[in-house]
Every structure is written in C-alpha cells, then in structure tokens.
C-alpha cells in the first residue's frame, strides 16, 4: 500500500479537479454555443443591416420566449430519460382555461379587467398546467406506464379538452393591461415576456445544477436502480419533474395569451417536438443522465436564428426544418458515439 499512499496523498482535492478550460471544451454545451455564434455571425455578415436591428432581435426573442419556457421543463424530463409529448397541448389547455376564467369573472369580457383578474388568470393557467403535469407524473411513476405513451395520451386529451371548453374556437377578451405591459411592453428595449422567460430559465438552470433536486434528476436518469438503492424516492421525484414540466407549460400558455392577445387553440401541435429538438440540440442526452439548461437555451435559438436568418438572406424558409433536422440527427449521433466510446472501458 505504500506506493498507493504516495500517489493518493500527493493528489489533493483541488489538484484532482480537471482544469476549467478542459472541462469546458469537454462539454457539449460549449460546441453548441459556438454553432449558434457562428450562425449569428454568418447571417450578420451577410445582412448586418437586417439582422442587428432592434425590432428583428426583439421579435426573435419574444417569439422564442414561450418555447424556451417549455424547453426548460423538457430539459428536466429528458434528463430523467423520460419524454413529455403533452407540453404543447397542456399549453393550449392552460391558455384557453385561463382566458375563459378571466372572462367569466369579468362578466364575459375581460378586455378592460384589472390586475386582480389578471392574477387570477395566471393562477388558473399555472394550476391547470400543473394538474396535467401531476397526472402525467402519477401515471408514469405509480402506474409504471412508459412516459411516451402517457404523454401521448395527455397530448391528445389536453388538446381535446381545450377544444371542448370553448367549442373549438379561440378565446378573445384578454385584458388590454396584460398585453400592453407584459405581452408587448419592453424594459430597456428588452421585451418583458423575454425577461420573464429569462428569469424562469435562470431559476431552472440553478435548480438543475446547484440543488439536490437537480442532482436527483441526473441520478434518476443515469441509473434509476442506483438512485432507488441509495434511498432516493424515484417515484416521488419523477412525479415532481413532470409536475414541473406541466407547470411551466401552464405558465407558457399564460405568456402566449399576453403576447398574442388571444388564446389560440391551434398552432401548438408541434411545440412538443420543437422543445424536444431544442433540448437534444443543446446537448442533453435523450438517454438521460446528462444535460444542461444553458445548452437548451442554445438549442432553442439555433432553429429560431436559422429560420429568421434564412428568410432575411432570401433563402426559402422551407430549408429551415431540413437544416434543423440535419443538426439534430448529427447531435444525437455524436452523443451516441461518445457514449459507446466511454462504455467500452
């Protein structure tokens, strides 16, 4: 043991840490961030006048804010090696029920309603989102039904329920106050809706990377059995993660109401796939166990920038989904190759 003691004693904890630069370059996140930077730089170099315009950037950010909030929840879900196909439908459900709730407490039309009604609408949106998330979580963790099937079910059910609520039509009557302040208002040039999304994202990133909740999320995704054996309540944790995703989808529905001034029942059918694509693009492994919220931020903006950029430089925007698809498949292929190389040891 003497030789061993020499080597171990000479390696003190802090020297054992991998240097910061090496850790950064080893992470997927850095590369994804670089891809985004290159995209912005390329489009910027071609059409600096159009890209770096305040209104273009404002609109890009505001449009992406809703998807970003959905994707933060999706990041947690995918790190547990799960999936949530229901986020877009839950968003629609929350959006419709919140708008209808605001209307009903304002005598049928909430257009001129005050902050009390708006607060009530927020509560309804968040609670109805959370309820769907809780249902998903309980079915997945207690009834042991695969997440793909459970959330495929709630994807259809939440959309159907939203259509039933208002007989299939959009709900208008969103309070003007909500739209002018929260929906279209800005603070030092940054749309308020973007600030909300940024705060949610920052909180999500802290929750994932610095807390016990985040640590358990990784552990459950990495090896569920190991997590169970060290005494982590895997069922409880999975329920909480899906509850979080549902709650964020509810909040996103409320943000959509504020931004579009109407609760729309269509147009969110592919939100789930967009969120999944963003999370996976951002370096979160579809097999669970690894990933980051920062990566998801990059992953949300890559398709958005591509779409805007292609339009501005005059390429048909139909190329955007193709470009995203290529990057997405390449990202997963890269992840799999790395895992295989790692597991061969």
């Amino acid at each position: 043991m003497t030789t061993d003691e020499k080597t171990t004693l000479s390696t003190l904890p802090d020297e054992q840490r991998t240097p910061m630069l090496k850790r950064l370059t080893g992470a997927n996140t850095l590369w994804i961030g670089l891809v985004l930077l290159v995209l912005v730089a390329t489009f910027g170099a071609i059409r600096p006048d159009a890209i770096f315009q305040v209104t273009t950037l404002q609109f890009l950010l505001a449009e992406t804010a809703v998807l970003l909030v959905l994707s933060v929840g999706m990041t947690f879900v995918i790190i547990t090696s799960g999936i949530d196909l229901s986020v877009g439908s839950v968003l629609v459900f929350a959006s419709v029920s919140s708008a209808m709730a605001m209307n009903s407490v304002s005598g049928g039309d909430a257009t001129n309603a005050g902050w009390g009604v708006i607060g009530f609408g927020l509560l309804v949106a968040v609670v109805s989102g959370a309820a769907w998330g809780l249902l998903n979580g309980l079915l997945i963790s207690r009834a042991k039904i695969p997440p793909l099937i459970v959330t495929l079910g709630s994807f259809g059910a939440a959309q159907g329920a939203a259509l039933l609520l208002n007989n299939g039509s959009n709900v208008s009557g969103i309070p003007d106050k909500l739209n002018t302040t929260f929906g279209s208002g800005t603070w030092f040039g940054i749309p308020n809706i973007v600030i909300v999304a940024a705060v949610v994202t920052a909180l999500g990133a802290l929750l994932l990377s610095t807390t016990r909740f985040g640590r358990y999320t990784y552990a459950v995704g990495s090896n569920e059995e190991a997590a169970r054996r060290v005494g982590i309540s895997v069922r409880g944790h999975l329920t909480k993660v899906y509850l979080l995703a549902g709650t964020l989808a509810g909040l996103a529905g409320f943000m959509g109401n504020a931004f579009f001034r109407v609760a729309v029942v269509t147009g969110h059918e592919t939100d789930n796939l967009n969120a999944i694509a963003a999370v996976v693009l951002g370096g979160t492994s579809i097999f669970g166990g690894t990933g980051s919220v920062l990566g998801t931020v990059f992953g949300v903006f890559i398709p958005a920038v591509l779409e805007k950029g292609l339009v501005i430089i005059g390429v048909k925007e139909f190329w955007q989904p193709i470009a995203v698809a290529v990057v997405l498949v390449a990202a997963v292929w890269l992840d799999q190759t790395r895992r295989r190389a790692r597991n061969q040891r």
Binding site: A219, N223, G289
Partner: protein, 254 residues
C-alpha cells in the same frame, strides 16, 4: 463469541412459485469477516437482499444487536449502519465519484441556501477525496463521470462509498469479481481495514482461496438453506466445496 450483531432465523422468500430461500439462517458477529458462499442459485443474493432491506422475506425473523428487526426498505438498514456493495455496483455512471459517494446523503450549504436545497459541492468533493484516499481508491480525477473510469476504479468507488457510511455492517456481493490482481488485493485489504475498525463484513464470493484468506468464519448456503458453518482457520477449500455441493452437511447448521 459474543452476542451476534445480526442474526437471521428461518428466512423464506418466494418469487411466485420459485422458492429462493427455504428457511435460511445466517449469523454475523461484530468486527468479523464472515463469508457467505454457495453455488449459483443457492440464494446468496436473495439472502443479502433480505438482510439489507431491498427485499422483504416471505417469513422468518431478523435480530439485530439483540433486538427484533423489521427492514421495510434499504433506508431502514442504512439508518442502523448497515451498507451494501451490490454485485451490479449500482452507481450512477453519469455522476462523478464524489456525487456518487454522497448520493442520497448530500451535504447542503449552511443557512438559507441549504434550506433551498443548494448543494455544498466543494465540501463533498473534499470529504470524498479523503475517503477514497483512506480506502486506497486511486482516481486521477474526482470530477469525471464514473463511466469514464475503468471497471476496477468503478468498483473501488462503490466499495469506498458503502464502507464510508457503514458503522456496523457491510455486505459485499462479489466485490472482487471482474477485478485485476492488484485491485483485488486492494479490495481485500479494505475489507480487513474495515474489520479492524470494528465493523462486520459479510463477503459473498465464488473465489475459495480468497474466502479463506480474508474471512474469520464461513457460512455455506445450499438450495436456500444454511448447510454448514466453518472457522476459516480450521477448514479447507475441499471442505467448503463439499458443503456447497451437498457432499457434506453439518447437522447443527440449519
């Protein structure tokens, strides 16, 4: 010897129609290394699962430190200072060694941050490095995912983790399987060191010379029952194999 630390009496465990344990008994005394051996399917792993709270026996009783014991979950066992190194390791491959060591026992930051569930990663890294050093697990780096380590290093982490938390008893289910010669020696050395600290070690192994070299006592399971008990210093590989295969039975063992 003194009072047994852990005693199992007449445990049975049925999985459907399969009887994995048919009245198995087991005894571990404080501060000893006792090996549990038996052929494949003898019920060793099932017995350990019942004794560490992972599974609940269908019938039978457990006594710990003279008190009747009821283990509803691994947490109950851990609360008593009983830890297990599982055959399949049960580490989270994407987490680093320190995170794995403190998994389920995270150190939180003091004050408000801790109340919010914020981890004290630095403290955990420091303590983990000390533990690994103490138990001879050499790792080049404390913050790479476990999956990036070699099989032997992974094993060292799993062993060091259990040993670090055990105050009374450690179960080790084949801790040296799939290890090289040097690493095997190191794990056996850890087992002796743990025993010298007064903690009982229950070793499950197929390697008879290893069992004889490290154990104080040996208990043999066959077809879900204890069929023989030996003092390691007074027995031989032939005798152990005889008991495992049924060629030799002790009347008083069951």
């Amino acid at each position: 010897m003194s009072q047994p630390l852990l005693e199992a009496r007449d445990l049975t465990k049925n999985y459907g129609t399969v009887e994995a344990l048919r009245g198995a008994s087991f005894t571990a005394y404080p501060g000893e290394v006792v090996s549990l051996i038996g052929d494949n399917g003898a019920g060793k792993s099932t017995l350990v699962k019942c004794l560490s709270g992972v599974e609940q026996p269908t019938s039978g009783s457990l006594v710990f430190d003279g008190e009747p014991l009821n283990l509803g979950s691994p947490n109950d066992a851990r609360a008593l200072g009983i830890e297990t190194v599982f055959q399949d390791l049960a580490v989270a491959p994407d987490l680093d060694p320190a995170a794995n060591m403190f998994l389920g026992r995270e150190i939180l930051k003091p004050g408000v941050l801790g109340f919010l569930g914020v981890l004290d990663k630095k403290a955990m890294r420091k303590q983990a490095a000390e533990h690994f050093t103490r138990f001879g697990a050499t790792l080049q780096s404390i913050d790479v995912p476990i999956a990036a380590l070699s099989g032997g290093q992974r094993q060292s982490v799993a062993v060091a983790r259990s040993v670090a938390w055990a105050s009374k008893l450690v179960f080790m289910d084949e801790p040296t399987a799939a290890l090289g010669v040097v690493q095997r020696e190191r794990v056996l050395d850890v087992i002796k060191r743990v025993r010298d600290e007064g903690i009982a070690v229950v070793l499950i192994s197929h390697n008879m010379p290893e069992v004889l070299s490290v154990s104080d006592r040996v208990e043999v399971l066959r077809l879900g029952r204890r069929v023989a008990r030996f003092k390691a210093s007074e027995t031989s590989v032939e005798e152990l194999v005889g008991a495992m295969t049924g060629a030799l039975t002790q009347e008083d063992a069951a």
